[in-house]
Symmetry: C2
Subunit: 383 residues, 2 copies
């Protein structure tokens, strides 16, 4: 592999001016840290659900120390896309000061964004750019001030008579409301689709999927289970966020112009919330749906006719109500991609219209979700 | 000191759900990290310019390991305010996973925000909240896409006939356009002042003070020097940012309704840019002006009559043009506070009207700058 620094470039995920990590033309990656007092230094790629490896490989990769106490390693070619990692300083996980931090694993986390050769759909290109607004609101459900981000498309401020449909877009487990823009580049994806004439102009609302009432204990959302009370986040989005958005922005405030999508944990939340509120949402996107309860081919306790309070039982009614039901996964996250196809097959057998998208070669990571959004968003609000 | 965990609270700067760092009623702070393989673990407060200590004290503070490999320390009572720190893992600087990261020292950095008893002017209170918008623009000067943040006050979207004055507000060395909201809580400070009827509603534009042309080598801005070519950031703010802001937002696009302020490095930029462009700005705020060139009482090479191309030479003209010339520093950053008073005295001796504010007990840190903004902003646009 080439490790000529003249042919390599700092990763786009680096902090301002940081020379390392560097990505080489063959997508091998060099890491570097000055740490004279460390005994060992390693690069540890983020671990996926089920313990699967991410696009940087399994690791840990032992770095080598030179006489000045500078540690370096070049790891084998990576899969294009956005991959979390940490440095192990004498075995203790730490961020790499060369990387920006991204909220993942419930803390600020280093990552390296490996450019995909020839692919620019999520780059900040020379096109009109929308804004991403931080909006604070008081949640009656949690009794706290919370923050969502809203993408407003280019022209929003200069077209005061125009009203827009809204996509509610959720992050994954351990992440937060910053994920879809910081990691996912959702705003640039939408800017580029709009400039290419491939998107209905829309607002995109991104909130934090974690929401607790005072004293409430956190619970992971689960797929396919029977009747259960709505989660606090469901209360937040239905009773706090949507009314706030419709009161604050020039929305088309009806179900036909409201969609929800999410990735991983956010896909479970999307399914649970949209399928219980088809009076509120007409389009649904579930990216990398975790197969741990329900959709797994090894799991037979999921009955598509009774799941989600029987919403799928009347396929004709469902197909008439739901404009788009879209499932995606990466081909390198095998259980997930099998799971969504098993789910789609079950739905197909009872006549539910469902589209799927397989992201070639990507795992449970943001390249899968960038591509998923890029496939999903242009299909929205076409009815 | 009390270290009863029942009386302590997680710092407001912690990540979601992180129990440590914790602040005790006496403002002592407990840190904690599970790191079984570390030989030594220390808390190292951020170092100030001139090597001065920040509000956490000098450190490093040695943490103590228990049998399970969990390291803890409680450090003496801290000064209220926002203080950077890192953990030294076997001597290697690393972030604390319990803290959010803030862009400081040119990288994501841990910090602990010590609440000031009885003080809530920068809290997210139950008042109307403005938005903070991320806006991307192409800079002709740097030939790159850049991002600024704009605070729009509550009601901006519902008062389409209203136009607003604009404050351009800059961060310090090693920080970026996120500093004034993430560290400084500028949006909450303005929300609270507005709710109290103490502020003229205004937009606040926050950009990154680092700007380089292709191939340009970074240079620190300097105070009080003689004629020199404008910095690239000066080109960016004058020729890229201000025209973009005036074209995009409902501004009052004249000098009477345009102010600039900055802290530390940003104060030098503010002085250099505003004093060269009094046709563009009418109010000036310089918070914690570094005394390393010019304003230092030990430094006699600064001639207030010739400095900044002689802008102060005609005091009558200057006082007529400039609505507000405001210098601040913290009393615990001794050279800075002496420096601004020496500067103000020199200006006073030649008849220039200049206001000062001393932040009691605070050093070269964000509590000084939060208070400085809280004092400065209500004085703006009153002419």
């Amino acid at each position: 592999m080439s490790t000529d620094p003249n042919n390599s470039l700092p990763a786009p995920s680096n902090t301002r001016g940081a020379a390392y990590p560097r990505v080489h033309p063959d997508l091998s990656v060099s890491f570097r840290l000055e740490a004279p007092t460390a005994r060992t230094l390693q690069v540890q790629p983020g671990v996926q659900p089920d313990g699967a490896v991410n696009g940087l490989g399994a690791g840990p990769y032992d770095m080598e120390r030179d006489d000045a106490g500078v540690w370096t390693i070049t790891i084998p070619p990576a899969v294009p896309g956005f991959h979390y990692y940490c440095l192990l300083i004498d075995g203790v996980a730490a961020n790499d000061p060369g990387s920006q931090t991204y909220f993942g694993y419930n803390k600020p986390t280093s990552a390296v964004d490996i450019p995909e050769p020839g692919v620019d759909f999520y780059d900040a290109k020379d096109v009109p750019h929308g804004e991403v607004r931080a909006h604070w609101y008081h949640s009656a459900a949690t009794r706290t001030w919370r923050r969502f981000f809203v993408y407003t498309p280019p022209g929003y401020d200069t077209a005061p008579e125009t009203r827009y449909p809204v996509l509610y877009l959720q992050h994954g487990g351990g992440e937060d409301e910053t994920g879809w823009t910081n990691q996912g580049k959702a705003n640039f994806i939408l800017d580029n689709l709009l400039a290419a004439g491939q998107l209905v102009p829309m607002l995109v609302v991104m909130d934090c999927g974690y929401a607790l009432k005072p004293g409430e204990v956190p619970q992971m959302p689960q797929a396919g289970a029977g009747p259960r009370p709505p989660s606090t986040f469901e209360e937040v989005i239905i009773h706090d966020i949507i009314p706030t958005v419709d009161a604050t922005y020039r929305t088309l405030a009806d179900r036909e112009h409201r969609a929800m999508a999410g990735l991983s944990m956010g896909s479970l939340q999307t399914l649970q919330i949209t399928l219980a509120h088809l009076d509120t949402f007409s389009s649904i996107g579930a990216f990398s749906v975790p197969p741990f309860r329900g959709f797994d081919v090894q799991n037979n306790d999921f009955d598509v006719r009774t799941a989600y309070n029987g919403v799928f039982a009347d396929a004709t009614a469902f197909n008439k109500q739901v404009q788009l039901f879209f499932l995606t996964a990466g081909t390198a996250e095998e259980r997930f991609v099998k799971g969504i196809h098993h789910f789609a097959d079950m739905l197909g057998q009872i006549g539910i219209t469902c589209e799927t998208y397989d992201s070639p070669g990507t795992a449970h990571d943001w390249q899968t979700w960038r591509r998923s959004l890029h496939e999903f968003a242009p299909r929205l609000f076409r009815a």
